[in-house]
Symmetry: C5
Amino acid sequence: MGACHVIFDGGSKPIDFNRSEAEKLRAAGTFFWLDLEQPGEEDFAILSDVFDFHPLALEDSENFGQRAKLDEYGDYVFLVVYGANPDDDRLVEVHCFYSEHYLITLHRDETPAFTELRARYAKQEAPLGDPPRLLYRIVDSLVDSFFPVLADLDNRIDELENAIFVKADDAQLQEIFAMKRLLVGMRKAVTPQRDLFASLMGGVDQLPGMTEEDERYFRDVYDHLIRISDLIDTYRDLLTGAMDVYLSTVANRTNVVTKQLAIIATIFLPLSFITGFFGQNFGFMVRHIAGAPAFLGLGIVLELAALAGLLVLFKRRGWL
Amino acid sequence: MGACHVIFDGGSKPIDFNRSEAEKLRAAGTFFWLDLEQPGEEDFAILSDVFDFHPLALEDSENFGQRAKLDEYGDYVFLVVYGANPDDDRLVEVHCFYSEHYLITLHRDETPAFTELRARYAKQEAPLGDPPRLLYRIVDSLVDSFFPVLADLDNRIDELENAIFVKADDAQLQEIFAMKRLLVGMRKAVTPQRDLFASLMGGVDQLPGMTEEDERYFRDVYDHLIRISDLIDTYRDLLTGAMDVYLSTVANRTNVVTKQLAIIATIFLPLSFITGFFGQNFGFMVRHIAGAPAFLGLGIVLELAALAGLLVLFKRRGWL
Amino acid sequence: MGACHVIFDGGSKPIDFNRSEAEKLRAAGTFFWLDLEQPGEEDFAILSDVFDFHPLALEDSENFGQRAKLDEYGDYVFLVVYGANPDDDRLVEVHCFYSEHYLITLHRDETPAFTELRARYAKQEAPLGDPPRLLYRIVDSLVDSFFPVLADLDNRIDELENAIFVKADDAQLQEIFAMKRLLVGMRKAVTPQRDLFASLMGGVDQLPGMTEEDERYFRDVYDHLIRISDLIDTYRDLLTGAMDVYLSTVANRTNVVTKQLAIIATIFLPLSFITGFFGQNFGFMVRHIAGAPAFLGLGIVLELAALAGLLVLFKRRGWL
Amino acid sequence: MGACHVIFDGGSKPIDFNRSEAEKLRAAGTFFWLDLEQPGEEDFAILSDVFDFHPLALEDSENFGQRAKLDEYGDYVFLVVYGANPDDDRLVEVHCFYSEHYLITLHRDETPAFTELRARYAKQEAPLGDPPRLLYRIVDSLVDSFFPVLADLDNRIDELENAIFVKADDAQLQEIFAMKRLLVGMRKAVTPQRDLFASLMGGVDQLPGMTEEDERYFRDVYDHLIRISDLIDTYRDLLTGAMDVYLSTVANRTNVVTKQLAIIATIFLPLSFITGFFGQNFGFMVRHIAGAPAFLGLGIVLELAALAGLLVLFKRRGWL
Amino acid sequence: MGACHVIFDGGSKPIDFNRSEAEKLRAAGTFFWLDLEQPGEEDFAILSDVFDFHPLALEDSENFGQRAKLDEYGDYVFLVVYGANPDDDRLVEVHCFYSEHYLITLHRDETPAFTELRARYAKQEAPLGDPPRLLYRIVDSLVDSFFPVLADLDNRIDELENAIFVKADDAQLQEIFAMKRLLVGMRKAVTPQRDLFASLMGGVDQLPGMTEEDERYFRDVYDHLIRISDLIDTYRDLLTGAMDVYLSTVANRTNVVTKQLAIIATIFLPLSFITGFFGQNFGFMVRHIAGAPAFLGLGIVLELAALAGLLVLFKRRGWL
């Protein structure tokens, strides 16, 4: 397993997570926050034994790739929330066991936001006495981590659009497609999370020890989640638009090129036919076009007349 | 910070916003409207100290880019509303602290509608005695500012459509795309605002001191917001349609040009083959096509017959 | 202002609408229907003074381009309904002030349905005693006027589809686009109207003096509005389909034309190369191809062999 | 009018529908099912007089093209339901007047399902004593008639898809479009019918004399309607997919053909230029290329070198 | 019929399903699970007689191709659930009759999950005493069988996308289309199943003997169904995206190829015209171009100048 930190009223320290440490924490009776990075099988066994969690909650907590959700189990809840980070899929999945006596967070990916938060609590800048407020801070830091990631996407889409207008190529398509996948993934993480906080606001779900003032704070989280989910939808729309622009631009370019080809062929195929005609070896013809008038009339004037006729034709069709 | 105006029962005046002015206003006990343009950090500190606003409300009010919303905090509410102006993103975001004793509006962009409103109150054309009615006037002026902006878009879409039918080019695509972005932005501003007034109408949210007669006025605002949101959706549909027309027009033009190319090649490649054939230097052939009949028969009639055959073919295919 | 008609229990007559006439009608105490075509500022002033309407209702009634809606104001309601007529946008907007004592209808466009209705009441074929029934008849005549307009659209879409399969051109695209706009406009008029009658059926809104039997009649109007709104959606779908067909047809035609071009070029470019080859002035070559066998072998058989080879190739590719 | 059948407790017989027969049936007091095919004006007059139906119900029953609906009128209901048959639009519209004393069905198109049902009742295989069960059987037979029609569509879509991959042409497009229209029509008939039975299940609407056990049966009908409506949506999706495949296939074919054209032109235009060059009549050149080395070097090797160069180029571009 | 297994408290055994066995099981009074693979007409007759099921439930159970649903019939329920397997349509449909006394499962396709479950019960690893828990295990094993099938699809879509960028061909289109059909089918199976468990959670439907603790387990199933349904929607989106990429890629390739063609034609058609010009047999011209300067000037320099001019033109258009 990875690092493990425990934050309690007196400060914050990294610990070696094992059965006796867990039992000590449980027995102490004061609220603590236990953060486990990359928990292993053994760790789950300890949690199961010491905290007596429901098998379904434990099973869910072991399997990453859950939907954001809040399952109530008597005096504790099991909570799955998502944040963003700069890795491949841009997502961090955090599993929380939360009660009025403890908050246990489990995650596989790194969560820079937590480091900062731990530092604040270590310096005792914020009292730990208010469990829902701590949960709020954790969820808030996760939710707010989406904003910079989305701002990056916004800029990248802008650049892509401009690049497509300059020169459309496959690499752009691949990037559009990759960003769409990313947004599909983020949407799948954010939408249930938004709905979760909606039902928390509506009183459908309940957090242990939550006061009306805490609710104001979670309402703020909810508000941010709506904005994030709106942004994701907006970017999806913009990417679809970029795809349309790609297609339209390419179609337009093909049109321009084809027109160019048609003009060249329409001018030179007839003219070449004329030169070909007088390049034939019919003795009769060769004998009759030997003089200067024939060359000027049939060799020069006829070509120029044909050219003039074609230019008039193009003018009329609006091709020139 | 930018300009600051205070409107009270006796008139309207620009003031230098500072702590003592704020305390004087607060202490006076009569209803006033304080409008702060481009508020700075200092101004928020004063608001926090003098009016004792909730930290969450203050935090939101400092960060522009909020969703339209109404958060109730005991005897005052924090309200985010959007209006339109002619700048880049066409949007003005206004943050309001509203209670029965004061209305404080904060905004970064210029709001021409407010200037006009201040003038009316300065001339005492309207009494300030009715706080909800003032809030209505402010919101109404913001909401109605969307109509001229949308009417401009409507005209521009009309022009674009006609231009595409005449000659499709990349600049139109870019404009369509830019307008789509604009509408996406406006939609994101208007939809939550519409829903906000819907829940105000439905009694889910409440404004301090609002009477049934005031409700009629806010119902009118709600009605306008529905129309605006419908218009935005309509224009999005029209832009999507314009994109389709772009693609269809280009595809059709390419078809016309390709057909022209095919006709030219189908006529002149076979004819040129014939002239090429009789341009060969096979001594046997040259000796046998020396006379006038060979020239007329193989040089002229054969070409004309080939041409006639091709024209018949085109006729049958409906290409001419 | 345009024509003004008043329909009362004894019959129907055109009147000059002015203050005294209005006051007389108001004072008479019996139910009447007053129809004002193209009402002017003056007319609204009279209505305001004599009938004492709410300023919001009056403001709405002066501005055409409202959403269909029903606003209750104590003992009267303000109602906006739409019908169809053959003009440019196919829509008639009618504003109604309705109470148990009067029905005042205001409109700008001509409403042929009203003429007919007036004639019926003038001949006293129907008693005026039942205000909701009169309102029903007016709304019903407006709503039913959509059906012939939609039937026309249906026929036109059918014709367009067939025309596209025969020969796709820009004019069809423009017509598809124009019809889409028309439908978008009709949808914007019909959908809120449908929802209005839905909430009238659901008891959310109420009409003064409406009985259960009247409700049956308005349920019928509601039913028609659902059908109209379904038809509009259907036609929008069909137009989208027609657009797709346009694109598909053009793409297919381009494919056919391009294939034709490729076949011609693939046959004649190689053959012409051969004739070009033997048209070269290399003395050595010219001396060696002077005899009949050279002409037959290289000039005729080689060309025919090349042609045969190409035809076999096309056959294999399924191009012939 | 068309055929008329009456089914009563003792059996089933075709009758001449007229006023006296109608009155006799009405007076008998026992439950009967009267089925009128292609009812005429006269028939509606008799129904109006003898059964005293509400004018709105009668008006609706005379106009085919209604939405599926259930209108309650005191002790009877007016019901519009749709079934499928093999005619042009695949739909049969049946209007029912249903009470605990009679069931009157009116339809214009043939309904094979009814013939079978009549035969069963004539043979007294099922007692007529239970009016809701009879109504269930009628509705069930109509609803189930959609399944074979939809299965046919399913097969046809499968065949179309395969055909498009083999060779895309306009006839397939026309068929896709025709099937889309058909499905749009069926959807318009089925969706309101499904919602009707949903509100019957939810207790919003009520059928005279319906027991809980009857409800189980109607729940079954509702279940089938959901499946039908799902199938229609599925087929619409598949047709949209088929359209996409059509476009993609055509685009791909055009690409293949264009590449072929480009290859041919890229090979033969340069080679032909070389032969053209040495076909020129510059005396100086002709004199210098008279020998065998010139022919071999410039006439043969140069061409082969050019060809080799082009093939290398194609290889690099992945065109061969 | 296929295999039949019975699982009771003491273990699990395959049995020959017949009337006397069925009656014995029914009479024993202890809970049992009877699993019938590919039940025949006869088997349904036995079920009908021995268990006295409602004719509607029996009819539904005989017809595979039902929607997932839960129909309550007094003390037992009829349940239709779907799982996944590796066959053609990836679906297994299981019909269950469930009461507190028995669970009877009927299916046509093989269900590997059941074999495993039977093995567990045979070894008495889990007590059979808790009927809802058994039902949960069965449903859970069916629902979870979707995950590996969907993971396969995910991988395949990834591969397809990459393949399209490398080389777009019809086989990919056919596979995209086939996968879309598969997902449409899975969606039709999963969506109603998800809604079924939603209404089971919401208390709309009820399972005999279900406790609050059982509900937790079914909530877990519900959670998985939401994830599956989300995944299906995601893959549909990705396939639509893949289709778009296909079209965009092909359009782009066509553009590249057409440009290549246009460049070749624009270079060689003019140059060939020049060679053709000097290949003409005008005696006058031939006599005047006999010297070395003519050859160098008109034969070499003129060609090179033309070529240089064309290259400049391409440069300006950004084609090179």
